[in-house]
Symmetry: C2
Subunit: 216 residues, 2 copies
DNA sequence: CATGGCTCTTTGTGATCACGAAACGACGCG
DNA sequence: CGCGTCGTTTCGTGATCACAAAGAGCCATG
């Protein structure tokens, strides 16, 4: 089997393609906590052999997005209460800092883009699309934090999101009521006003509020 | 080649053994920034094939300890000024929080152990052992932070150390003067006094002071 | 009906190989 | 003497295979 391989994807190595696809599925909460994955199954899904699948999985394990049992079986971790609180504390520590660094660089075009994303967040809430809600909520935050010009800090923050991914889907899947993104409005207001303490507070609240409901 | 394999190491998979060994070498600054590594070379060093070497390298790349060029060549990254400042800011953000969480649990036996480690840090400074200094300095911090019962936060902090590893070795290799660990004494004093703001300040200073000298 | 052992299947691990691309070196031309 | 060009070597990538261990299912026995 030496032919085929890409066929549709002109860029990037196979293991990287598998990694990115799996990462998005985990980040968007499309894989349930405790669900098992097999290297041969992943390889078959993406039309590659075990080798690239193994590398992608290893990378995700290193980032905390996946766990492996003593025998090497791979699965999405089920987070304990302490772990959830700790990851929420990390978000509360990192994200206000990122937002604060983005504030002096947040011009009107950025704010308008954030408002547009926020509108789509509202749509997802209205149609009870949990996965779409998570995806657009993260896009809202990432769009803001990208302005902070702190790639290492943003990368670490994203690994925290990644670890929370499967658990968050459980939360928003259970979430029945259509709660409007109040904290997002506060974030936008603080951005417009150049209110740094208010921005930090709003971001911190937004990062921690939802996770409080996750406690078993 | 189906025989041999372990022979000396009864526990753990081969890729994990390679990963841990490489990780320590990077963390202790025994690999210079910009130095190239080859999978076949790593495999030969550890008596394994390319497969476990590749997995170990991939994992370290995921943690930011190694970089790979567009063609897949692996090397320790040379950090830019902005990157160093950002990683220092991350240390300044994370480590005071870890120390603060450890404070209520820091009993006398822990403080005595920290003082013993600190004494060995002084020895390393006296004998101009850069690698040993880095190793014991990290052990000082990790011993304290382990008490905070925040494994995810500690793990992220260690990846920050890992990214700084090769660059730190350059710093301490150039460091001629025998500077005593003043901040470590401040940390120990604050721990004994139960002085939480003082502890945060001392830890923050210790995390950022050395890195200021690294700016090119 | 529960439980223990047995076999067959599934799965991860590591070694090896073919392939293409990048790096390296030397030679020759200007 | 400098520089480009071509052949050689080195390297990463992905596929495939043998192997061991863990799982799952099943039957027999208490």
């Amino acid at each position: 089997m030496l032919i085929h391989s890409k066929a549709t994807e002109p860029t990037g190595a196979a293991h990287d393609r598998v990694y990115r696809a799996l990462r998005l599925r985990i980040l968007h909460g499309e894989i349930h906590p405790g669900q098992h994955l097999t290297l041969r199954g992943i390889g078959k899904d993406f039309g590659v052999s075990m080798t690239p699948a193994r590398e992608a999985v290893r990378r995700l394990v290193a980032e905390g997005a996946l766990s492996l049992s003593s025998s090497g079986r791979v699965f999405t971790p089920e987070l304990s209460n302490e772990r959830i609180e700790e990851l929420a504390a990390l978000r509360a520590l990192l994200e206000p800092e990122l937002a604060s660094r983005a504030l002096p660089r947040a011009h009107l075009t950025l704010i308008e883009r954030l408002e547009e994303i926020n509108g789509r967040v509202r749509q997802m809430i209205a149609r009870h699309d949990a996965s779409g809600y998570i995806r657009l909520n993260l896009e809202f935050h990432r769009t803001l934090y990208l302005r902070s010009q702190a790639p290492a800090m943003l990368a670490i923050t994203e690994t925290v999101w990644l670890q929370l991914g499967p658990t968050m889907s459980k939360l928003y899947g259970q979430l029945r009521r259509t709660e409007p993104p109040r904290n997002h409005k506060l974030i936008l207001a603080a951005l417009k006003a150049g209110d740094e303490p208010g921005l930090r507070l709003a971001v911190r609240s937004d990062a921690t509020q939802g996770l409080r409901m996750l406690k078993v």
